[in-house]
């Protein structure tokens, strides 16, 4: 009853093809954005910013990037951690060698470096797919791990291999407070997320989906597989690279190569799969879920252990965390292989009829 699209007539193609064609969706999205931008900064504490909000927002952007590749174009990638790293180190090197550039300009430019590297490692996708491609993208991951550690000019010859981001400021404003960090990250994610939402409904997005659904058929109707796949790799790596630069500059501040190791790749992949393949909303939901679960377990496990008289050490907590995490992933895949986004669309169907289901 509340969520009803009956009576919303579309009189033009523009209205029909809008990003959010249903009025309620537009309203909800606007309301959510208003809350995120205007209400959250007044209520969130520093802990909530550092532990929950900033990681979620940045990783959501990275997950959207990976979803472009995996969900929309159907190319499996396990190298997203390395692409985040490329973005972070590209932004770092830009600030070192071109100190007159504002850090935010560097963050945006870093995406192009990541996109270039992404295209290079996307070339194998022209010949292989599926698991073979997953393993091929692992090559990007391991090569990245090695390069960040061993190729000294990437880290500007710092002896420890750990590098620091420059202080964030714009037009003389200091943007290093958690609130400002959060707003910056949110702005990047919202703008780029909407841009992706726009791209995937346009001709490039349709080409990606055609390739995903059946590459041979797509080729026959005139989609160029090389162009489609490489643009997917480029756009995806661009977004992941920007997310990596944000992760480094806005969230970490100073970081080591281990921040972008294979576990990051897996984390992003979980977000995409649990959130839902081929859904921007799903990427965001997946990011929220994956960021919150470890925090929840960390908080909940020791008291639960104390309840049954068992003192749980931090090592045990991390093992339990791995176990529960693994079990949850299997559980989710068994119960809902299409992810949280699918749950939302089921809920939408129900809401359409509620409260009179017949």
């Amino acid at each position: 009853m509340i969520y009803r699209e009956a009576g919303q007539y579309k009189a033009s193609y523009q209205a029909d093809q809008a990003i959010f064609p249903i009025a309620q969706d537009r309203f909800v999205v606007l309301a959510l954005l208003a809350v995120a931008f205007l209400v959250v900064p007044f209520v969130a504490s520093e802990y909530v910013y550092r532990a929950v909000l900033i990681p979620t927002v940045i990783l959501a952007l990275a997950a959207i990037g990976l979803n472009v590749l995996m969900g929309y174009c159907g190319q499996v990638s396990l190298g997203s951690g390395a692409f985040m790293g490329v973005g972070a180190y590209a932004a770092y090197n830009l600030t070192v060698h071109l100190p007159f550039l504002n850090p935010f300009v560097c963050i945006l430019l870093s995406g192009f470096f990541a996109a270039a590297i992404g295209i290079v490692f996307g070339i194998p996708s022209l010949r292989i797919k599926g698991f073979y491609l997953a393993v091929a993208t692992l090559a990007a991951q391991f090569f990245g791990d090695w390069a960040f550690l061993r190729v000294k000019w990437i880290t500007n010859y710092t002896p420890s291999g750990s590098v620091n981001a420059p202080p964030l400021q714009l037009f003389g404003w200091d943007l290093s407070s958690p609130t400002a960090n959060y707003l910056v990250a949110l702005l990047f994610t919202v703008v780029l997320g909407l841009a992706v939402k726009n791209i995937v409904r346009g001709h490039i997005g349709r080409q990606w989906m055609a390739i995903r659904d059946m590459d041979i058929a797509a080729e026959i109707i005139g989609v160029r597989p090389m162009y489609a796949k490489l643009t997917a790799f480029a756009v995806s790596s661009f977004l992941i690279g920007v997310a990596g630069a944000l992760w480094a500059f806005v969230y970490l501040g100073s970081w080591e190569p281990a921040a972008f190791d294979i576990n990051r790749s897996f984390q992003l992949m979980f977000m995409v799969i649990i959130g839902g393949l081929g859904s921007i909303l799903g990427s965001v939901l997946g990011a929220i879920f994956i960021v919150l679960i470890p925090i929840f377990l960390n908080q909940a496990l020791p008291p639960l252990g104390a309840l049954v008289g068992w003192k749980i050490s931090t090592a045990t907590v991390s093992h339990f965390e791995a176990m529960i995490f693994g079990a949850l992933i299997v559980f989710f895949l068994v119960v809902e292989p299409h992810g949280l986004a699918r749950l939302w669309s089921v809920a939408k169907e129900k809401l359409r009829l509620w409260p009179f289901p017949h």
């Binding site: 499996v76 393993v135 590459d215 093992h319 992933i329 299997v330």
Partner: protein
Amino acid sequence: MGFFLEVLIGGLLAGVLYSLVALGFVLIFKASGVFNFAQGAMVLTAALALVRALDLFEQWHWPFGVALAAAFVFAAAVMAIVAWVAERLVLRKLVNQEGIILFMATIGVTFFLEGLAQTVFGADVYPLNIGLPKDPMFILESLFDGGILVNELDVWAAVIAGLLVAGLALFFQRTRIGRALRAVADDHAAAQSVGIPLNQIWFIVWLVAGLVALVAGAVWGSKLGVQFSLSLLALKALPVLILGGFTSVPGAIIGGLVIGAGEKISEVFLGPFLGGGIEIWFAYVLALLFLLVRPQGMFGERIIERV
């Protein structure tokens, strides 16, 4: 020349161990089409179960032979439980899902197993001694000055791997269950329609892969000590699979040898020019280049499909 041979032999022997891990992947992929990322975690679980049981039995002053045999039986039982649970709670529920979903599920299983094994058996580094000699020895001393240094343990590992492969080949070719396994690998639906129980076959395949993991874990464990890094062996085995093809047992062996030798030779002779530590990506880049030329691997089934 002597030094080159030494590096080559060292690499080949390390490659045998990669093959052992890759074998487990191939077995499961052939029989159920599942790309089992959990193979590394299975190696870790098996090795941990083995070493902890062995320690315990030795504390009870059992004779070494008996304690070792009992520990192997215990570890095999653990792997059987893992196989049964994996089949029951994961594979059976995910029949007819896409390959990528199953792959993700095995990553979930990996996390679960790693956490569980380390909670139950402890998370330290445990030295494992299963009676394999560990002394370095020199061979071909008459041919080269000073001979070639070979680790005796590696030679034993190669012998064990050879025996294992021969045993598996016999099992697959000569037994009733082996024939059923090959039938399932060929065509699930056809196998089911002639009365082969798929669920049972999947359990057996996971069990066999678990036993292969046990052997791999025992050998790697006596070489490096049983520790968490055993789980990362899975990542070492992936380029081996690419080289050899996902569905070929001989491919896993030869791929392992090529990767092992290539890795060591590149590290020793190429590494110094690139800053060292290139071992971690060399295998992958080698596999990647190989893919561009021959996408199905050396022995994999030809995928007749053009993109």
